[in-house]
Structures are given as C-alpha cells and as structure tokens.
C-alpha cells in the first residue's frame, strides 16, 4: 500500500491576494479510495484550496499531482478530463436544462462527442443511458425531465454530485455538498456519498461535526490558509489546538 501513488497530492501550494495569504504551504495527500474531510473555521481557505486544486485559481507556487501526473499547469477542463472533479458550495447548475440533459452533456463532453453538431443528440444512446443510470443512483430518475430550476433544493444538491459523477472522476472534491440542506436530509445525502464506488477518492468540506466524524476516515484541519493538522477523527477530536480554533471562535461569535 505504501508504494502506491496517492490519487491526489499537493505540494507546498501558496496563494496570496496582496498581503493576504489565503494558502500557505498546503501539502496534502489523498490516497486511493479516501473519504477525507476538510474542516476549519470560515475563511480558513478551504474553498480556496479546492479552487487551487481544480485550477479555477492559479497557485503562486507549489505543485499538484493527480495519480503521479503533474497537473500544476493544466487548465481546469484538462484536469477534469484526467479525472479530477469538484462540486460547488453554491449550486452551479444549468437552470433551464433538465437533469438528464445536464448529465448527458457532461458525458458527451467526456466522450468527446460534444463537438458533433451534425448528429442528433438521441443518436448517442449509450450516453443518455449512462446519464439516466447516474440519475437513478442518486434518486433523481423521477425528475429527469423537469427543468432544473423547478427542482427542490435538496435534489439540486444531488444533481451537483450527479454532474460531477458524469465526468467519471478518480478524485472528487465536494465543497459543502449539504450546504443549506436541512439536517435530517444531509445525513441521507452523505450516505449517497458514502456509497460511491471505492475507486473514487473523496475530499469533502463540511461544517457539521457529527457528519464529519461519522463519514470521514481522516480529517484535514485548516486555519488561516495553512494545514493545522491531518489525522484520524479520534485524534482530531481530542486535539487541544482544534478545540481552541473552534471553541475560541465560538466564544467570539
């Protein structure tokens, strides 16, 4: 196991806006099949880190490797094609497209069919079937042909994940997948995530500690742009620095 390449590895990622350092020497590793949580107080740089890893933001320095392949210079689109996909904290969907259209779009892009303007969409039967299967997995099959904007919020959150799955990711970065979802539903949403196949390595940001401790196998704690601690849940739970970061803030708020 030790000799195997990590699915994702960042090396000393740094990013500043002026004098504000939003990422300082972030080095993390995500082994294959990981279910890692990324936690930290607001403004710790969690979403920034995801933006850096996916290439929506360029790091000032540092390296990113996916399956041992250096992707530091690749644009977002290429990283997705290599198998590095994210979801968004705020729904970033296609409001007027039906879910089946949205996932089929992603599949056609993956299979390089999206440029074929001379062939009807329905000619790509396998893509549609695969898309429908993904929707079925995420219990979205019944709303497959309704415009996305008419779906209840919880289903839109699921569609976020469906869209990411349609790219056939090796590494999936979930930015607060349950953001805005009522507590009762978020556990259900996370059981969907837990049920993802083992060959997908998952890193998720989540604020609800109950969920973090029940779903994550390891936890990365970030504070003001840097990694404070990376450890197993039990260790994180009892670490005094983590307590201080959270309780300290809580007493301020």
């Amino acid at each position: 196991m030790e000799t195997q390449q990590p699915a994702l590895r960042t090396e000393a990622l740094c990013k500043s806006f002026g004098s504000l350092k939003v990422a300082r020497d972030v080095t993390i590793e995500l082994p294959r099949g990981a279910r890692h949580a990324l936690i930290g107080p607001n403004g710790a740089g969690k979403t920034t880190l995801i933006n850096l890893i996916t290439g929506e933001m360029r790091a000032d320095s540092g390296r990113i490797a996916l399956d041992g392949r250096d992707i530091t210079q690749d644009p977002t689109m290429a990283r997705v094609r290599y198998g590095l996909t994210r979801t968004f904290q705020i729904n970033t969907l296609f409001p007027d497209l039906a879910p089946i259209e949205a996932v089929t779009l992603a599949i056609c892009e993956r299979e390089r069919l999206a440029g074929q303007f001379w062939k009807g969409l329905t000619a790509h039967r396998e893509a549609i079937d695969e898309g429908f299967e993904i929707l079925r997995q995420l219990q979205l099959a019944e709303v497959a042909i309704r415009p996305t904007r008419t779906l209840p919020y919880g289903q839109q959150r699921l569609l976020e994940i469906a869209l990411a799955l349609a790219t056939r990711p090796k590494v999936l970065l979930l930015d607060e997948p349950a953001a805005g979802v009522p507590k009762g539903e978020s556990a259900a949403l996370f059981s969907v995530i837990a049920a993802l196949p083992d060959d997908i390595s998952v890193l998720f940001i989540e604020h609800d500690m109950d969920i973090v401790f029940s779903f994550a196998t390891r936890i990365i704690v970030m504070v003001s742009g840097g990694v404070l601690l990376e450890a197993e849940p039990a260790v994180v739970r009892s670490d005094p620095r983590v307590r201080e970061v959270y309780l300290g803030r809580a007493s301020h708020a």
Binding site: E56, T92, L97, I100, L105, C108, E109, W118, F132, A164
Partner: protein, 328 residues
C-alpha cells in the same frame, strides 16, 4: 433492472420528441409558399424577408444559443455579399458556387475573428463585435477600388440557377432561391440545436462557469458556432447580392447589425423560428410604414425594445408561448 415507477418517462422518448418537426413548422413551410400564388406583387419583399430571416437565424445561433452578444454581425453578412459580388464581377456568375464561396469566405474570417471573440467577456466582448463591425465597414469604404466605396458594387451578374432558372423580373426565381436557402439554413440550424453540440451550447448559455468543471472545452465550442454562424450570415449576404445584382456598403452597416438584434428580440432569442418570425414582423412593418420618417420608425422600435425587455424578456414569441402554456 430496478422497477420503473409509472410516472417515469423514458428519457430517449422525451429527447426525441424535442427534436421532432412540429405541426407549427410544417404549417409554416407550407405557408411560405403562398407568396408564389397569392401575393405575387410582394415577391421581391418576400425574398428580402427570406434573406433577412436567414441572417437573423445566423445571429440567433451565436446570440440566442451560445449567449455571445454581438452588435457587429453585419460584418459577415456584408463580407458574404461582397464575396459573391466580386466573384461574379470577376466573370463567374454561377450562383450556387458563388454562394458556397461567399459562405466559405465569411466562415474563414469568422474563424479568425473567433480567436479574439473567445478571449473577452462582458463589455469588452460587445466592444470587440462592435469594433470588428465598424472596422470592416471602414475598410470596405476605404478600399473603393475593390468595393466601389459608397457607390456600391455595380455590374454584378448572376447566371441562371442550375443553368435553368433565370432570375425573372417578378422575382419568382429569386424568392424560390432565397426560400430554399432559408429552408436549408434552418434544417442545418435545428440539426445543430438538437445535437450534443447544441446541448453544450445551451450549457454555455445557462452557466458558463460550470462548463470547465464538467470537462468542457467551451471556448472551442464557441469558436465553432461562431464560425458556422459567420458562414450562414455570409450565405445570407450572398443571397442578397445574387437576388438584387448590387452590393452596397450598408450590407456592412451597424444599422443592419442592430436591426437584426431587434428582430431576434421581437421573435424571441434561442428559438430558431423566433428569428424568422421577428424578421417577418420587422420587414413587413417597415415596408408598410415606409412613408414614415425613419426617425419616428426608430422611436417606435425603441419603445418596443424597452417594453419587450421590461414585460416579455423572452421575446414576443416566447411571451405568447408562455401565455399559451407551451413548455419549452
């Protein structure tokens, strides 16, 4: 397999239905033949409308489907018009090859321009389209040895179509020719719209930020549709040249670029027949109100634009469709 619930529609069927020819479309094409029999005196107007509608369809492809706001698309219309005129003046008046030549030329320029277009967004994009439009206009104006300048290109001659159908004084051939071109243009466009490529274009329009996150090379898509659109616009311009045997500078004018956007708004963007219907309304209204001072014509156009934006953001056709409860 899992058990299917009864409410579950088969996605294949549903997608298939979206791409099917509707009764409305068939009725429309039947009606498009009426000018041959009922309104012969309006045949020249009818062919102008068909040309303009094809141009509007080309703009809808970039504006309505890909979300590129262009205020300079007359550039491609005009380039096509001049290309067709010049090849005819050079001694080759065969219309079909002339049309293809013009479309290829406009498409080539569109392809080159697309590298600039995909680099910019927002105001800069509007300015680039505007700037390229003015640039082309001024270029044609200053190259009067080639283009005839403000006098326009005279002495264009177009041979009979397929060597058989002569362009007659009443405009039967011209209308038939323009209508056939419009039909083919729409067949091509609806093919694009209902393809996987068309789906990606809708994705770009709906949420461009998501596109790279699903692995899409959306800039490549934009370049492709921009090139196709330029070729179709060039084709429309060439049709105008071949059916009127002249080319004037105003084929390149900003006015033409702005008018076509107005037509799209009237008919509704992102629905191919919206472009056609908008062109019909606009051209017929202008023909009927030809005696009106152009300034006042634009007063009403301006007022209409304001009202449409405030009241029916999806265009008149879109507004009517919503009233009728049509889902699209």
């Amino acid at each position: 397999m899992t058990v299917e619930t009864p409410t579950l529609a088969d996605p294949h069927d549903w997608l298939e239905r979206k791409g099917r020819w509707s009764a409305f479309e068939i009725a429309f094409w039947v009606a498009s033949l009426l000018p041959f029999f009922l309104f012969q005196t309006y045949l020249p107007l009818a062919s102008q409308i068909a040309v303009t509608a094809l141009f509007a369809v080309s703009v809808d492809l970039v504006l309505g489907y890909a979300g590129i706001i262009t205020l300079g698309h007359a550039m491609f219309f005009g380039l096509g018009a001049y290309a067709a005129g010049l090849i005819s003046k050079a001694g080759w008046g065969e219309p079909l090859t002339g049309l293809i030549f013009a479309a290829a030329f406009a498409g080539l320029v569109g392809y080159v321009a697309s590298f600039i277009i995909v680099r910019v967004q927002h105001l800069a994009l509007i300015m680039i389209t505007l700037g390229l439009g003015f640039l082309t206009y001024e270029l044609a104006n200053s190259m009067s040895w080639l283009t005839g300048g403000t006098d326009g290109l005279q002495g264009v001659e177009t041979w009979p179509i397929l060597g058989v159908f002569r362009f007659d004084l009443w405009g039967y051939t011209a209308y038939g020719y323009a209508l056939a071109a419009l039909f083919l243009g729409l067949v091509l466009s609806r093919r694009i719209v209902h393809s996987s490529f068309g789906l990606s274009l809708r994705g770009i329009r709906e949420n461009v930020r998501r596109m790279p996150a699903v692995g899409s090379d959306y800039r490549g898509h934009l370049q492709k549709i921009y090139t196709i659109s330029a070729a179709v616009a060039g084709c429309a311009g060439a049709l105008l040249t071949q059916t009127t045997d002249t080319v004037s500078l105003d084929t390149l004018s900003f006015q033409r670029s702005a008018d076509v956007v107005v037509m799209l708004i009237l008919g509704g963007t992102g629905r191919l027949y919206g472009a056609v219907i908008g062109a019909i309304i606009f051209m017929v209204a202008r023909d009927q109100l030809a005696d009106m001072n152009p300034q006042y014509w634009y007063f009403w156009i301006g007022l209409l634009l304001m009202v449409v934006v405030l009241v029916m953001p999806k265009g008149i056709l879109g507004g009517l469709a919503r009233l009728a409860g049509e889902r699209d």
